[in-house]
């Protein structure tokens, strides 16, 4: 198992390197630069001096290694959109709302989705199943910003129960968390249902019945354990959903989180901030990959000890 984890870590490090190069190149391939001016163009001499100050006049590979060298020491540079701060200080305030709201969304949505999926699978073709399918389909097909608007319209405008936006008071979290939770809830409801039904139709379930096990034991010990194997793979799409969702959810609910910086740093060609955000996202995915791989191996003996031992 230790070797397995080390292998994963090595492959993640490689992925991280490749992705960082691609992002860096793509970022710089967008026409225009941070100090091109727009309404108030800088005099060429001044502009060149600033470019030199930030090292932007050097060849790209030098810039890349300089930046990544800094990153390895925890220095993500100075944001062009707020030159008085560092990228770390700029983002360190912003990631708290994103993490709290997104994290709670997943922590609440995923278990609810799993329960809904189990209920649907065990009551196939009843109203519970149809309800679960409807919830899952709506949750996956309606974009988060539409869900957010509906939530605001119903709970803030019509019913006037909750504020439409804001931070940091906890009662203002309820609507954005709900918006976040729809994705993991829908994803998990769908996957749990189909994984459970798939497992329930396996021949070994009949053998378990023929052994005289109770239905409860069959479902909660055997079927759920087997179904959790494919469900682990859903961990990743859920991360994508939450990360990209933050861009919409945070602007809908006016949460001062990371989502806004994704957009603003690209628009202003704020290379250090953009790079820091993308690296963070990459890291999140890599961690998600490692966790799913480890869970997968823990749950699935066919991967854990591949060979024939007897």
């Amino acid at each position: 198992m230790t070797r397995f984890i080390l292998q994963r870590l090595l492959s993640v490090a490689t992925t991280f390197f490749i992705v960082s190069v691609i992002i860096f190149l793509m970022m710089h391939s967008i026409p225009g630069g941070p100090f091109d001016g727009g309404e108030m163009p800088l005099p060429p001499a001044v502009r060149e001096r600033i470019m030199a100050q930030y090292g932007l006049d050097q060849p790209l590979y030098v810039q890349y290694f300089k930046y990544m060298g800094g990153v390895l020491q925890g220095d993500f540079g100075v944001p062009f959109q707020a030159p008085g701060q560092t990228v770390v200080s700029l983002l360190s305030q912003a990631w708290i709302p994103s993490l709290v709201l997104g994290g709670l969304g997943v922590l609440i949505g995923a278990p609810l989705g799993i329960l809904l999926g189990i209920a649907a699978a065990l009551n196939r073709n009843t109203w519970i199943d149809y309800l679960a399918s409807a919830v899952a389909t709506l949750g996956l097909t309606i974009p988060v910003f539409v869900t957010s608007m509906i939530l605001i319209l119903v709970f803030a405008v019509w019913l006037n129960w909750l504020p439409s936006s804001g931070w940091p008071e906890p009662h203002k979290w309820i609507l954005p968390i709900t918006a976040y939770a729809t994705i993991p809830l829908a994803t998990y409801a769908r996957y749990t249902r189909s994984a459970m039904l798939d497992t329930l139709n396996k021949p070994f379930v009949t053998v378990l019945r023929a052994k005289g096990l109770s239905e409860g034991r069959i479902v909660y010990t055997h079927v759920l354990r087997n179904s959790s194997i494919p469900m682990v793979t859903v961990f990743l799409p859920m991360f994508i959903g939450t990360a990209t969702g933050s861009i919409f959810v945070e602007s809908m609910f006016r949460v001062p989180g990371l989502g806004l910086f994704f957009v603003s740093s690209i628009r202003t060609r704020d290379y250090p901030t953009e790079m820091a955000l993308m690296l963070m996202l990459t890291l999140m995915f890599c961690v998600a990959y490692i966790i799913s791989d480890i869970l997968y191996a823990m749950l699935n003996p066919r991967i854990r000890n591949g060979g024939r031992s007897t």
Partner: protein
């Protein structure tokens, strides 16, 4: 009282476009210590019959009715879920066709055998586990401890089938249903497994129901044979009588299609195919393929007539 008693069993599966009638009135019995073979082609209803006997078919969709469906004195049709669970594995156990898919892939063999023991009587995990090893040794597995620690994917089909037999015998059942236990195995392993089942049956004094389409298996393992076709019992007789003097035209044709009786003899196939279970033929289900059929065979199901001691058949030719 017979150990297993089935009378007029009917099993059907409603579909969107009609009803599949898998079993259309099957009757037979098994006594303690006796081995009964149920033979028939695919679709004859033999597996469904045994699944129905243990109530292992999901209802719905399956519809089961019988004038009698008793296992060890318990009316299986009247028994509730809890009663059924306590009977399965303890009084009546089953060995399935494909050992490769019969075990839960995420638990060890030892765990799964121990689990059966613990489902039916008080035992600590450790005790159940060591009992599982003893059972594996009993089905002639040479390194029971290593096998008990193995996951299903680490073992061969023959090894798994032995383990499934060990699991089935873990609570000393009074009757064992074996549903084509050798079909998925290599020919060399088949004979070993049959031999093992036969020995254990004699040793434990169990009733045995051996379901198969392989007449060779029947000849080697059982005392009495039930021949099924189109969801009905065509003939029932002691094993010697079935091979030496088959009475029903279907049984006669089946024997003619079996290789190995007389070297150099040409095998005779039975023309036509199995009846469509959602639209079975009228009268005797075999009449469309039977060389001796006449108008009456197509119109009316023949009655069961006695053809010898412990032997009966359903054919108008024998009335």
């Amino acid at each position: 009282m017979h150990l297993v008693e089935i009378s007029d069993l009917e099993v059907s599966f409603p579909q969107a476009d009609g009803v599949v009638q898998a079993v259309r009135g099957a009757s037979f019995h098994v006594d303690a210590g006796e081995s009964l073979g149920i033979v028939g082609e695919s679709g004859s209803g033999k597996s469904v019959t045994c699944m129905a006997a243990l109530r292992l078919l999901r209802q719905p969709p399956a519809r089961i009715s019988a004038s009698r469906l008793n296992v060890d004195g318990t009316d299986m049709l009247a028994a509730d879920k809890r009663k059924l669970a306590s009977l399965r594995g303890r009084v009546a156990a089953m060995v399935f066709q494909d050992p490769m898919t019969a075990f839960d892939p995420v638990f060890t063999i030892g765990y799964q055998i121990g689990e059966t023991i613990r489902a039916h009587r008080e035992a600590t995990k450790a005790a159940a586990r060591s009992e599982a090893e003893a059972l594996l040794a009993r089905v002639e597995i040479r390194n029971p401890s290593a096998v008990a620690d193995s996951y299903p994917h680490q073992l061969s089909g023959g090894m798994l089938q032995r383990a499934m037999i060990a699991m089935a015998l873990s609570c000393q059942p009074r009757v064992l249903f074996a549903d084509e236990p050798t079909t998925a195995l290599d020919v060399t392993v088949q004979a070993q497994i049959l031999q093992l089942i036969k020995e254990l049956q004699a040793e434990l004094g169990m009733g045995l129901v051996m379901i198969t389409h392989d007449l060779g298996v029947i000849a080697e393992t059982v005392d009495r044979v039930v021949v099924m076709y189109g969801g009905r019992v065509m003939e029932e007789a002691p094993v010697d009588a079935i091979f030496d003097a088959p009475q029903h035209p279907y049984t006669v044709a089946l024997m003619g299609s079996m290789p190995g009786l007389a070297p150099g003899r040409r095998l005779v196939e039975i023309p036509g195919g199995s009846p469509d279970p959602s639209n079975p033929p009228s009268g005797c289900p075999f009449h469309p393929r039977c060389t001796q059929a006449d108008a009456r065979c197509a119109a009316e199901m023949p009655p069961v007539v006695r053809t010898g001691p412990q032997a009966q058949a359903a054919c108008w030719r024998l009335t």
